[in-house]
């Protein structure tokens, strides 16, 4: 299968182009904060509950809030029906995603409480963990949870020898490597890496280039996350 034709990708994108992204904050009533996000073929909903009392009680931490993150895929989100409930992949994604948000949330402000983040993938394309983190980040801000900055996530893949931003399904499946990143962005600048995984095969130089490509993509997503929050709290007219 040819994935790059005349220097363009199968969906017509350039190597450093993102898929179309749509973000809407505050779409759920019961949750303290929420977000709907589309990133290419991904459609995800994120909800934040808390800070609230910890259940079960023994998980309480007297010095800070505990953070929980549940990544879950709807049974109808993929080609072949997925059995509902956590599988090994979801459990791992939940763990690394929680660890991507934890150092950014100011959890010391809420001892003995929990901040619960739930993300449901309604439709999955490639990069659903990055889409979910982007949505979770907006939902946390919508919930008014104090944070050191915003978390923005995007993946880079290697396809037919080229590094491409935000891979879609075929690029992920047939590509030579996949590197999901998430960054802490503070004051409009990328400050550090909060999520980093990789599988496939890359040289060290390719990895360094992948990081640069991901950073450029993340800055674009960050602006859209910001716009979604402004739209919810200040209204459309403020956004130029």
């Amino acid at each position: 299968m040819e994935l790059i034709v005349d220097g363009k990708r199968l969906d017509g994108r350039g190597f450093d182009e993102l898929r179309p992204i749509k973000i809407e904050a505050g779409i759920l009533n019961r949750a303290d904060g929420s977000c709907y996000l589309e990133m290419g073929g991904n459609k995800v909903v994120a909800a934040v509950y808390g800070p609230r009392e910890v259940h079960p009680k023994h998980l309480e931490d007297p010095s800070k809030a505990i953070i929980r993150y549940r990544y879950s895929m709807a049974s109808f989100s993929v080609e072949e029906r997925k059995r509902p409930g956590p599988d090994r992949r979801s459990i791992e994604i939940s763990k690394v995603s929680r660890e991507a948000l934890e150092p950014v949330i100011m959890k010391e402000l809420f001892p003995r409480s929990s901040i619960d983040i739930f993300v449901e993938v309604l439709q999955a394309d490639a990069g659903s963990r990055t889409a979910c983190l982007n949505a979770a980040s907006v939902a946390l801000i919508d919930a008014g949870v104090p944070m050191k900055g915003i978390v923005t996530s995007v993946a880079v893949a290697k396809v037919e020898g080229f590094l491409v931003l935000d891979p879609m399904k075929d690029e992920d499946y047939y590509g030579e490597a996949d590197v999901p990143f998430a960054f802490l962005i503070r004051n409009g600048k990328i400050e550090s890496i909060t999520l980093l995984q990789m599988d496939g095969r890359l040289t060290v130089d390719e990895l360094k280039s992948a990081l640069e490509l991901a950073k450029r993509g993340a800055m674009k997503i960050y602006k859209l996350q910001r716009d979604a929050i402004l739209k919810r709290y200040v209204g459309e007219e403020v956004i130029e």
């Binding site: 690394v96 550090s192 599988d199 496939g200 360094k208 990081l211």
Partner: protein, 258 residues
């Protein structure tokens, strides 16, 4: 009680760090001593025991014939599992694998899979019908930190030691498992600007903030996993890449000797 001890240990590790030292006197890029034994379980198709400092782990490989995945009808299947049994640490509990065990197994699996260490095409018995399934089971015995590298090393050592039991399944003659690469995982503890390779358990009291980089024998990176709630600077990331490649070469040398 445990919490207080952890705090004391943490203070000690940090006070040593401020003097530019590690608590066991190792340099920052020095791994603990490594011992590898293979073929220790007669009933398994392949097996290995690894002792990394005081961390001990056994990996057993069992094989059987099963159906291939529809998208890879001519390839064998690798299934990796890790059991963090309660004998190995007071913090491990009986029951199904928790997120730490799952992460451990999946990172080890990715190293083997993406380095294409096992030639899966040679594990096809009958295309679309029958292929060999390779079960890699990681059994932790003693967790003194960095079970990840010990498990990854034991896994590849066990695969090198594996004989495909074709005679027992009446599909031809036994043959050695075709292993064509040697993926090596190197885990470092990140604390601020400090990078400590192969952290022991006491060092992990400053926070279980690690990054695991697996490389193949051509120095390509085949798997990365940032694990733990911490902010990783770009500088630390680049530092850890070069360090991991250098260390992996050393460890790979040990595998050649077995």
């Amino acid at each position: 009680m445990n919490d207080i001890l952890m705090e004391v240990r943490k203070d000690y590790v940090l006070s040593k760090l401020r003097e530019g030292e590690r608590i066991d006197g190792r340099s920052f890029d020095e791994m603990r001593s490594i011992e590898i034994k293979t073929g220790i379980i007669g009933k398994a198709e392949g097996s290995a025991y690894v002792k990394l400092g005081n961390t001990q782990v056994v990996v057993g490989v069992k094989m059987q014939i099963g159906e291939p995945f529809p998208d890879t009808p001519d390839q064998g299947i690798i299934i990796t599992n890790a059991e963090l049994v309660p004998l190995a640490s007071p913090t491990f509990e009986p029951g199904p694998p928790d997120e730490n065990a799952i992460e451990l197994a999946r990172v080890v699996d990715r190293g083997i899979r993406h380095s294409e260490a096992v030639d899966l095409k040679r594990l096809c018995v009958e295309e679309g019908e029958k292929v060999w399934m390779v079960f890699i089971d990681i059994w932790a015995l003693d967790d003194d930190g960095n079970l990840m590298d010990a498990s990854a090393l034991a896994a590849i050592a066990a695969l090198l030691n594996t004989t495909v039991p074709a005679e027992r399944f009446e599909v031809g003659n036994d043959f050695p498992l075709p292993v064509r690469d040697l993926p090596i995982a190197v885990t470092s503890l990140v604390y601020g600007d400090w990078i400590m390779v192969d952290p022991c358990r006491d060092e992990l009291s400053v926070g279980r903030n690690t990054i695991t980089i697996t490389t193949d024998q051509s120095d390509n990176v085949v798997s990365i996993q940032k694990s733990g709630p911490f902010l990783l600077s770009e500088r630390a990331f680049e530092g850890v890449l070069d360090l991991s490649i250098r260390k992996a070469r050393e460890v790979r040398g040990l595998l050649a000797e077995i």
